[in-house]
């Protein structure tokens, strides 16, 4: 069993600083401070490790860091803990069971990009457990002088500050998050300028997902080769997969990138009640759905999933058995994007409503063939026509559900009822 971000999970008192230090925590940070490691060297290491953004986009983390403006001005790091892509539940575990890996990762990232402040933005619904654990961990790290002024006598000063949201999926989009931290509605910004040039309060800013940040200390401590070799087959590194839906034992699994889907399925003791696998959404509800037989032997990594027409996304693997009505599932997914569209771009604001209402109409038995064409047309009109990816996220499921399960939708509009009894 590989353990990177999940290293502390099975320990007694997993979130305490003592547990983390006992397992070698903060040694990477100490080493950097002792050696005064050049910033460029850290960025190169992360680049070479091929660590990719684990929030959904899969962009090379080291490369992102290298884009930080070289100007002398104030810079910021933001850790994106606004985990809210339907089907995704990994960051919540890192935040409550391994909070110090996030703090150490943020410190190293701040150091590498030259930021003196790192904000960790948690979604509002985490105000119970995760918020308390995060605040407590930050307090512990201040007491050990891993954070603060003149850290361990190194002349390096960095502050790590937890923030809390108040309920809005869109804030997970990085520029919407900056707006939210600035105290505004979470409406995405037009890029360019990219945050690395002009971000929070107009200053150069890097935004990384929680799991990405939490991976950093382990890579720095154990080296590039160690991390790369954790991957299966041609893949590099690991990923947390959130296995949910029709499974006997749904769970979050940290596994080598490139692990075949069938193996993850086995780890969850297979499909619930020994039913047959029908479909899988492998990366959170935004990514295209694929048929069960297509994904079975596919290595779970960015490229192989692209080849079968979908994406790794956030690692939210939603598994559906043969009893699933795909029309109902799509209706539910469309409801979500309709509710969460921020309303800034017309195609998304209006289009998500059309998609949802059309699906409600079909489900109520009032749809006809032309509604299926309408769904495709509206999806195409949204896709690629908005400031941020929420529009695409609303369109992709519609197009893939229709392509893969056309007969089910056709049956519904003809017979005015689901094919699934």
């Amino acid at each position: 069993m590989i353990k990177v971000c999940t290293q502390t999970f099975d320990c007694k008192d997993p979130s305490s600083i003592e547990t983390y230090i006992k397992l070698g925590g903060y040694s990477a940070w100490r080493e950097i401070l002792n050696q005064q490691t050049p910033k460029s060297q850290i960025i190169e290491t992360i680049k070479d490790s091929q660590l990719k953004g684990k929030g959904g986009a899969g962009f090379l983390t080291g490369l992102k860091w290298s884009f930080i403006s070289p100007s002398e001005s104030q810079k910021y790091l933001v850790c994106n803990s606004d985990e809210s892509e339907p089907g995704t539940c990994k960051d919540r575990d890192i935040l409550r069971y391994n909070p110090h890996s996030v703090i150490e990762g943020m410190l190293i990232a701040c150091y590498a990009i030259g930021a003196s402040v790192g904000y960790n933005y948690l979604r509002g619904e985490f105000i119970g457990d995760q918020w308390n654990v995060t605040n407590n961990a930050v307090k512990e790290a201040y007491e050990h002088n891993f954070i603060g002024d003149n850290i361990l006598g190194s002349n390096v000063s960095i502050n790590i500050i937890p923030l809390i949201g108040a309920g809005a999926y869109i804030v997970g989009e990085e520029t919407a998050m900056l707006e939210s931290i600035e105290g505004k509605r979470g409406m995405p910004r037009i890029k360019p300028p990219f945050p690395a040039v002009q971000g929070l309060y107009g200053k150069p800013t890097i935004i990384n997902n929680t799991e990405t940040i939490a991976s950093v200390p382990y890579i720095i401590k154990n080296g590039v080769d160690w991390y790369k070799n954790l991957g299966a087959g041609d893949s590099h590194g690991v990923k947390m997969f959130c296995m949910s839906g029709h499974l006997n034992k749904p769970k979050v699994i940290e596994a080598p990138l490139g692990t075949p889907f069938s193996k993850l399925l086995d780890e969850c003791n297979g499909i619930l009640n020994d039913k047959k696998l029908k479909a899988v959404i492998p990366g959170g509800s935004s990514v295209p759905v694929v048929k069960g037989e297509v994904i079975m032997d596919t290595p779970m990594d960015y490229e192989p999933l692209m080849k079968i027409g979908t994406m790794l996304g956030s690692g939210g693997v939603i598994v559906m058995d043969e009893t699933t009505c795909m029309v109902s599932v799509l209706e539910r997914i469309s409801r979500f994007y309709y509710a969460e569209s921020c309303g800034q771009c017309t195609p998304c604001r209006e289009g998500t409503g059309w998609l949802y209402k059309t699906l409600v109409k079909i489900r109520a038995g009032h749809g006809d063939q032309s509604d299926l064409d309408l769904l495709n047309r509206v999806a195409n009109q949204i896709e690629g026509h908005c400031i941020c990816a929420l529009g695409d996220a609303a369109a992709m499921p519609v197009k893939s559900f229709l392509t893969n399960f056309w007969n089910e939708f056709e049956y519904y509009v003809e017979k005015k009822q689901s094919m699934i009894i």
Partner: protein
């Protein structure tokens, strides 16, 4: 005047929130301050409170109002004392979350989005995925997660909440 609306305790908390941001970035404190104010005001906000926060942070009232109306955790109407949010997104839906909602509606004799007559419970019309997909079906009661729900479990949780 403002001191009558925002208690000393709330003002202290807002001051500590302000210290998280650059001194001239008062707007940044709005979200977290509203959460504190709402918590102290039986779970909802009103125009008076919104105005008081704007005055205290020295920002426009519209700035606070925009935030209060954009984020789903802010309530602009009185609600029941205990908030129940059932996740009904894909992963939970596949594990029968719709029946969970239906069961709670019947048990509490309300529809989703309503509060009970005795004002004890508010069943929020939750649109978001609550990030506990491997524990589906799940709900939050006052932001505490309850997972792998069954009807019996719901009875136990809701019946166990005291009237105070």
């Amino acid at each position: 005047m403002i001191h009558d609306i925002l208690s000393e305790n709330v003002r202290k908390e807002i001051d500590s929130i302000r210290s998280k941001f650059p001194h001239d970035k008062n707007k940044s404190s709005i979200i977290e301050s509203l959460l504190i104010i709402q918590h102290e005001n039986s779970g909802y906000l009103n125009e008076e409170l919104i105005g008081a926060l704007a005055e205290y942070l020295n920002v426009q009232k519209i700035d606070v109002y925009e935030v209060a109306t954009f984020y789903s955790m802010f309530n602009l109407k009185p609600i029941g004392k205990n908030t129940i949010s059932v996740c009904t997104n894909v992963s939970c839906m596949l594990r029968n979350s719709d029946q969970i909602v239906e069961y709670i509606e019947k048990k509490l004799k309300i529809k989703i989005g309503e509060s009970t007559k005795d004002n004890k419970f508010y069943l929020k019309d939750e649109m978001e995925c609550l990030a506990a997909c491997n524990g589906a079906p799940m709900m939050q009661v006052n932001h505490v997660n309850y997972e792998n729900l069954t009807f019996e479990k719901i009875d136990k949780i809701l019946d166990g909440i005291k009237d105070d």
